[in-house]
């Protein structure tokens, strides 16, 4: 078994036009890790994922991956066209586009789709149109699509963005189970308390890597202020760090 990192980003810089989005980013993801990338809007989280996936060019530096590494990618659900005329089954089988050309879904594929959906607890939605799903089901369907490739590493962009608390818990438990089964996971999130604080490793990003390590070490007021550019307090709750935003604005009528 190779001991090389799955993904190795060395001095990576990316730009949009003349504007630098990532600057000299250094980060490794090793087999079996569960890594969360946090940072404010525009900090380069999604660009970093896109650079790793090869859909955004790297201006300087390099990103190397283990040979024949299979990636499973789950985009932000907000980017999905929910009116597109496809069923859940069709969405999942899409990932076999390279290995099979036959338009019709085979019995073997149908069985495999059912297995992956059952594993994620949504076996009953296979024949539904994607618009007919709840928020949690939508997230699971796109997770199922990524899992259908039997990936070595799962890459997710904001998996809990725009979902309610219950769905967030479902997603978190699901990812914890997949990680416990040996899957390597790299995700981005805005959700410091609901998701990031639960992960074994966090990378704080704001164009460059501000800090990288265990949430207990990384979620500190100084690191968070450097990352977000705003003062934050970190409390401890149930043995976990709890980030409190100091940007409280008094509401009209308050204090009268």
């Amino acid at each position: 078994m190779s001991t090389e990192p799955f993904i190795n980003c060395e001095h990576v810089s990316c730009t949009y036009g003349n504007a630098a989005v990532l600057d000299d980013v250094y980060m490794q993801v090793n087999r079996g890790e569960f890594v969360g990338v946090v940072g404010p809007s525009g900090s380069g989280k999604t660009t970093l994922l896109k650079a790793i996936l090869g859909t955004h060019p790297v201006a300087h530096g390099s990103i190397t991956m283990q040979p024949k590494l299979t990636l499973g990618y789950v985009p932000q659900v907000e980017t999905v066209d929910w009116y597109f005329p496809v069923t859940v089954e069709e969405v999942i089988v899409m990932t076999r586009s390279k290995s099979s050309w036959w338009p019709r879904i085979s019995q073997a594929e149908r069985k495999a789709v059912r297995e992956v959906l059952d594993r994620l607890g949504i076996g009953e939605v296979a024949n539904r149109h994607i618009r007919e799903l709840s928020g949690g089901q939508q997230q699971r369907v796109f997770l199922a699509r990524a899992m259908f490739r039997n990936p070595d590493i799962l890459i997710m962009d904001e998996p809990t963005s725009g979902v309610d608390v219950r769905t967030r818990h479902e997603v978190l438990h699901l990812l914890a189970d997949l990680h416990a089964d040996g899957l390597t996971i790299l995700l981005t999130t805005h959700d410091l308390n609901g998701l990031a604080a639960h992960l074994p490793r966090l990378v704080c990003l704001n164009k460059r890597v501000i800090a990288d390590g265990n949430p207990r070490d990384v979620l500190t007021p100084s690191v968070l202020e450097s990352t977000y550019g705003a003062p934050m307090e970190v409390l401890e709750h149930g043995g976990m760090p709890l980030v409190v935003d100091h940007g409280r604005v008094p509401m009209r009528g308050e204090g009268k």
Partner: protein, 282 residues
């Protein structure tokens, strides 16, 4: 007597050729129109038809074969649009606007400068479904068979790259190649149908049948036969109606397509409202 009247145009060879090529063209445009509509590329059909017009004008002036000159021109325009659009500084709409309007302007300039070619060019601009030659039937049929073969063979890749190009790329689909092939098919389709319905109305045939079909089904595979069916039937009926009413064939076909769209839109809207009401949402 009525039956005799209905079949009267079939006694003319020009009508027989016209209706064959129009029906195949309708099915072909309907088939590719599914991708045009789902990719939000409605403007590209309009743009490419204008770009191909530039190639057609140049072919007529230089004196080379129409299909060769306009075909090469159309494919180059499609590839140029794809390349310019991929540079994130410009959006696809700007890329289409630059490439196709420049090409169209070149066509107009050539038409003005070399008057002797204007007849052929005007046929391309407005369509001449009743002046169809056997070569047109062969060309439309060949492109239709080729397009069908590509869509069957690349069904999954086309579906994936249409629905989610980023994830398709990550999953090993060469999205750029798929895009270029699709644009080339679109250019070829415009090339072989432009003399039937004309560049000015071709975008409607690429968009309306697929847009109407989209409202009838939530299945991508079903759209791929409903849309060509609407395209073929409206072209077939439109040709007959235009003969009997003595109206322009291309305008009649497009008006029929628009009528189908309005009917489907009304029925689908009523059906949706009834469904929502039954669920207690209204």
């Amino acid at each position: 007597m009525l039956a005799f009247d209905l079949f009267e145009p079939y006694g003319f060879e020009f009508f027989q050729r016209g209706i064959i090529v129009a029906t195949i063209a309708g099915a072909l445009c309907g088939l590719l129109g599914v991708f045009v509509v789902l990719r939000g590329m409605s403007y590209i059909g309009h743009g490419l038809s204008h770009a191909v017009f530039g190639g057609a004008a140049a072919s007529a002036v230089i004196g080379i074969n129409f299909f060769v000159g306009a075909g090469i021109w159309g494919i180059i325009s499609g590839v140029l649009i794809a390349r310019v659009a991929r540079r994130r500084v410009l959006g696809a709409d700007a890329a289409i606007g630059v490439v196709t309007t420049a090409s169209f302007a070149l066509g107009l300039a050539l038409m003005n400068r070399y008057g002797q070619a204007s007849k052929s060019i005007e046929a391309v601009l407005f369509g001449s479904v009743l002046g169809v030659k056997v070569a047109d039937i062969v060309a439309v049929s060949l492109v239709a068979v080729f397009a069908l073969a590509v869509i069957v063979a690349w069904y999954r890749k086309l579906l994936f790259s249409t629905f989610d190009p980023d994830v398709a790329h990550v999953s090993g689909v060469n999205v750029s190649v798929v895009e270029v092939v699709l644009l080339s098919l679109l250019s070829l389709t415009i090339l072989v149908t432009m003399r039937v319905i004309g560049t000015l109305l071709i975008s409607a045939l690429l968009v309306i049948p697929a847009a109407a079909a989209r409202m009838t089904s939530n299945s991508f595979s079903k759209l791929l036969w409903i849309s060509p069916l609407i395209g073929a039937v409206t072209c077939f009926v439109g040709m007959n109606v235009s003969y009997h009413l003595d109206t322009s064939a291309s305008a009649t076909i497009i008006l029929l397509d628009a009528l189908v769209f309005i009917v489907v839109y009304t029925v689908a809207g009523t059906r949706n409202r009834m469904k929502m009401a039954s669920l207690g949402h209204v």
